[in-house]
Amino acid sequence: MSLNISTVPLPARPFNPTALVALIWLCTLVWAFVDLELAQSDLRGALAAFAEYAARYARPDLSELPTALALMGQTLAMALWGTALAFALGAVLAPLAAAALTPNAICYRLVRELLNLLRALPDLLLALLLVTAFGLGPLPGLIALGLHTAGFLGKFLAESMERVDRGIYEGVRATGAGSVQLIMFAAWPMILREAIGYTLYIFDRNVRMATVLGLVGAGGIGKAIYDLIRIFEFSRASGMLLVMITTIIAIDYGTTWLRNKLY
């Protein structure tokens, strides 16, 4: 008496969506390609044109180095102030948006939605609006940076505060601590390292973004580069770009090194 294996019904093979997802993805791409009329454009010609254009930047003119450094300094200052503003705003909003610390559910939802709105509005758009309202200069730029990145920093900090072990909150609360004391003596000490890491990341991001804010009249080296490109002064623009790229890479490595030291 033996069991005939071939008659035992096998369970149905589980549905594997990979092929379907890939097909839908490919169709979407083809549709986008056709709809944007990219097929008409000559891609190889475009790359050749870009190579030719890039060659115009081959001879950087470094005779304006002091000006470039001063402008870069202003851009860095903008990023620093923007980050400080974002940290101040984020630090206040984060406990309200952390489930473990929020006073009530309505406040939680409202602050979460506020942080979401701040993140959704591009900082360049905010800067444009603020330049219209306040006039040209670095101040609208740094406020735009601060508001936009407060959305990110507030969310990151709130999530860190939610990840803290519940026992720590309970322990501190058991000593009779109020809600502000809970934030200061339970939440912050636990997330301090992470918070510094996030703030460094935001600073790095803000340095890059601050260089671009010049395009909408918010000062710094970006404005100078944009103006030089518009009057076809490629060598001078190239010199400024060189200063900018060097600074951005240096800050990138610096913040990465600091973050690695933290953990």
């Binding site: 549709w31 102030w81 959704a120 360049l124 444009l128 101040l139 609208p140 890059r208 944009y226």
Partner: protein, 263 residues
């Protein structure tokens, strides 16, 4: 004569963190002048806010809605195409750049340097360069966004590959797998959840970036945004801001749902 008093650190010297606590406010104070952060300028800016907000309180221009939808669709298409092109290039580049998968340490080192050079220019500046070289339209937008995305995506992919567990890699190698097979059947599948998460994050990031690419004439909703601000068409502007908020938030929600299901 020592009093036996020391800092409560391992070395007995004051902690470095104390230095940072002092340096940041000092830097802020020193650069306040440069970013026009003065009481008078702030007061002047604060006084301008109510008048500006009052301007934004207008009836939306509903007749603009179909055109806005077309622009947003273009923005989404640019995002999808640029991210997919970048994905295609980033995977092989990441394998070559990751320290545990690279064919030669020198190749990995050079490639990582190149990627950090690409990342050093912000996306809007790349877009400006591509528009200057190729003219207005969606093509420079797609190319610029793809370029920056490769710089970031390949780096993030490489970092995911670097933290792959050694066990599965050794297991596959022990079966006699060759150089390419080890990477295709051990490293990439092991890193897959991370890779998918990174790609979703990148999609989110690129949608935000694509909304402002039009500021320099690289297609999408950005061109209409900057026109509306320049011409004070606030009835269109509030519609655009609302639409961008809904779009970005929608993708944010969708990608967090997907992330939870996949990872």
């Amino acid at each position: 004569m020592s009093l036996g008093i020391a800092w409560p650190t391992r070395s007995g010297r004051p902690p470095l963190a104390l230095l940072a606590v002092g340096i940041v406010p000092l830097a802020l104070a020193l650069t306040a002048q440069q970013v026009e952060f003065s009481p008078t300028r702030l007061a002047q800016a604060a006084l301008a806010v109510p008048a500006f907000l009052a301007q934004l309180l207008v009836m939306p221009d509903w007749s603009y809605l179909p055109e806005l939808a077309a622009r947003l669709l273009e923005t989404i298409q640019i995002t999808l195409l640029a991210t997919s092109i970048a994905l295609l290039f980033s995977l092989p580049l990441a394998v070559l750049a990751a320290s545990n998968a690279t064919p030669h340490p020198l190749v990995g080192w050079l490639l990582r340097g190149l990627l950090s050079l690409i990342r050093a220019l912000p996306d809007l500046l790349w877009a400006l360069l591509f528009v200057s070289a190729l003219g207005l339209g969606a093509l420079p937008g797609v190319l610029a966004l793809a370029m920056v995305t490769i710089g970031l995506l390949a780096k993030l992919y490489a970092e995911s590959i670097e933290v792959v567990k050694r066990g599965p890699v050794e297991g596959v190698r022990a079966c006699g797998a060759g150089w390419l097979q080890v990477r295709l059947y051990a490293m990439l599948p092991e890193a897959a959840p991370d890779l998918i998460g990174t790609t979703l994050y990148m999609l989110d990031h690129n949608l935000r970036a694509a909304t402002i690419l039009g500021f320099v004439g690289a297609g999408g909703v950005g061109y209409d945004l900057i026109t509306a601000i320049r011409l004070f068409q606030y009835d269109r502007l509030i519609l655009m801001i609302l639409a961008i908020y809904l779009l970005v938030t929608g993708l944010d929600r969708l990608s967090s749902v997907l992330r939870r299901r996949i990872i």
